[in-house]
Subunit: 377 residues, 2 copies
């Protein structure tokens, strides 16, 4: 792009830092995904990369090594194995989960301490996106738009009236240099009913909210301070101590006291009400791999096969069977005459269901939790 | 029964020895049943007893400790653990499988050497029968009938026009003391088509051939000699050496040379043609547990539940699921929204199919064999 060639554009793009919140167990993908081995640590697409690694690589051409990963202490070792490029200063560890406003807000506050001019982009570690170049082009537009003083979300053009996502209602074009697609955001709306979703899609005015956003850290923190002053104060205190010997002492004292709130409520929605949010409509295909049916869809689209088999060294014998098999063991798996089945085979737990019931896996995990069978969760 | 009370009847019953051929892998019950752990070593009914143990116990009141078990050398240890009552002289080990005529014929020849007056009864180690007292009453009638110089099979009154069993065509009543049910056998017929089976069932003249028979060993061997002189000669040579120090030398030399043939062709069918076969029609329920659907049927009949779970310490969580789960591991198994499923979970192999396709398991085992994946067979 020509905008990349100018020194001014280059200076804007160089302000970009990526933040990857790597949390969320992915309960609907149990027993593959679980507390000790959450979704982002798995290769769910058969690409050879885990979702976390793929997210990091997707951002590489834009962020270089300017990447901060926010994750739980329990996952530090696995994250470092996946991303050996990370230095100590690229890792933010949570001693206990505090929801997205604290996780992303701490990353913003730390980056702000290091350089208040940084434009950060936050991208979940467990989404599947292609083609990558379209993604990066959308992020570039978002960076240029953020540089004009906006919190910029990347909205996905709906392919169907999903009731599983929130929507973004778009407004007028913003006429930003280097970001011809940028639109104002009128409001964020919660997951709709199917009827409402149909109206959204046919209006052409709404996009899926994929939870991706790009913003100047100073602006993000300003909104956080206005809406969640207590949280902002705590995060600022931790951030000021972060790159000093006092990090552990301050974090141990302050982090447990912070309120749990989603970034949508703490920042995005009030910022939209204030007219400070823009959106880049994106055309790349995006999937949050919400359940095993989604894994089957991702593979079927690519491989045009009835039976998707995931897992290194999987030994699957199928006769008249369709669906998805995830093999996390070396066992022989024989499937005979069964359609749209979901089989997930792990060393200590086995799931057998159908694509149609894939969303109900969460309920089973809740039931196991209630029964005390937490060793396999 | 009054017949049991007379010294004459007692003397006849005392001639009875049971023979339990414990062979047959039970391929349709893979991966539970397999070469190293065949069907008869499993508790498929949830009774707490393996099929072999249940067979032994069912015969106990009639045979006492006059029981010979014929099995492969590979299963000796498992059989002895299941039946600690067996002495060395109660065990006939095959160095390689030679089909039923050799296995049962050797048992007959050994018993004949020990006492030519013995009446033997042969009962597969992997069938499920109830009520036991009805079974024993049928065997008693068979013993009294055998004592009149007959090979006596026990035929099962068909409950439906099965195409999976051979049939026995019955003839006139035989008027045997102590065996009021005894009938002549006109012929054995192979597994019929469904149309033919319907005719058999509606005629009232046909019974299922369950492979159980009772016969004087001398008569059985006479028919074997007439029809398979080479086999008879070899078995006689082994039997004469059996209870001597020469057993191993003679067996090692002769057994591998013996022809493989089923007892049906070698003895039962030609004996029927000669008018030497009788049948006791039995009313007990009988199941050869031919596949996993059969296991489900056996349990459903008793427990009136949609989901049958087999396996000590099974940890099964089911929501909206029906069918059968066999757990041979301690893994958690979650079933969600899947009907008539068959899940068999073993340490090195997993089967997922439906009751409808349970018969096809044999084909999968054949495919595994062809592909060289014999470690799990």
């Amino acid at each position: 792009m020509s905008t990349e060639q100018t020194p001014e554009a280059r200076a804007v793009l160089d302000r970009f830092h990526a933040v990857i919140p790597a949390g969320g167990v992915g309960t609907r993908l149990w027993p593959l995904s679980r507390a000790a081995a959450p979704k982002f640590l798995h290769d769910l697409t058969g690409s050879g990369s885990t979702l976390l690694r793929a997210t990091y690589d997707r951002l590489g051409p834009l962020a270089g090594n300017r990447v901060l990963v926010v994750t739980g202490e329990a996952h530090m070792a696995a994250v470092c194995r996946q991303l050996p490029e990370l230095s100590d200063s690229d890792l933010v560890l949570e001693s206990e989960p505090k929801d997205s406003a604290a996780a992303i807000g701490l990353a913003a506050a730390i980056l702000h301490e290091r350089d208040p001019g940084i434009i950060m982009g936050s991208f979940a570690a467990d989404h599947v996106i292609s083609p990558e170049e379209d993604f990066r082009e959308a992020v570039r537009e978002a960076i240029f738009t953020a540089a004009t003083g906006k919190i910029v979300t990347i909205g996905i053009k709906p392919t169907h009236p999903s009731t599983g996502f929130g929507y973004i209602r778009t407004g007028e074009g913003l006429d930003v240099d280097g970001a011809p697609s940028a639109l104002a955001v009128r409001e964020f709306v919660e997951k709709p009913t199917e009827e409402v979703a149909l109206g959204y899609v046919s209006s052409g005015e709404y996009l899926w909210n994929a939870g991706m956003f790009v913003a100047p850290v100073a602006l993000l923190l300003a909104h956080l301070e206005r809406n969640q002053p207590e949280l902002h104060a705590g995060l600022t205190e931790i951030a000021q101590a972060w790159d000093t010997p006092r990090r552990k002492e301050v974090t141990d004292r302050v982090w447990p006291t912070l309120p749990k709130i989603a970034i949508d409520y703490a920042v995005a929605e009030p910022a939209a009400d204030a007219g400070d949010v823009a959106v880049i409509p994106a055309t790349f295909s995006w999937d949050d791999v919400g359940d095993f049916a989604a894994i089957g869809r991702l593979h079927n689209a690519r491989e045009n096969r009835n039976l998707t088999v995931l897992g290194e060294g999987a030994r699957v014998f199928a006769e008249g069977a369709s669906g998805i098999v995830v093999s996390d063991t070396k066992r022989v798996i024989a499937l005979i005459g069964i359609q749209d089945v979901v089989v997930v085979d792990t060393p200590d737990a086995l799931l057998v269901t159908t694509k149609e019931h894939a969303q109900k896996v969460k309920g089973t995990v809740d039931a196991l939790k209630a029964s005390g069978d937490v060793d396999v969760l």
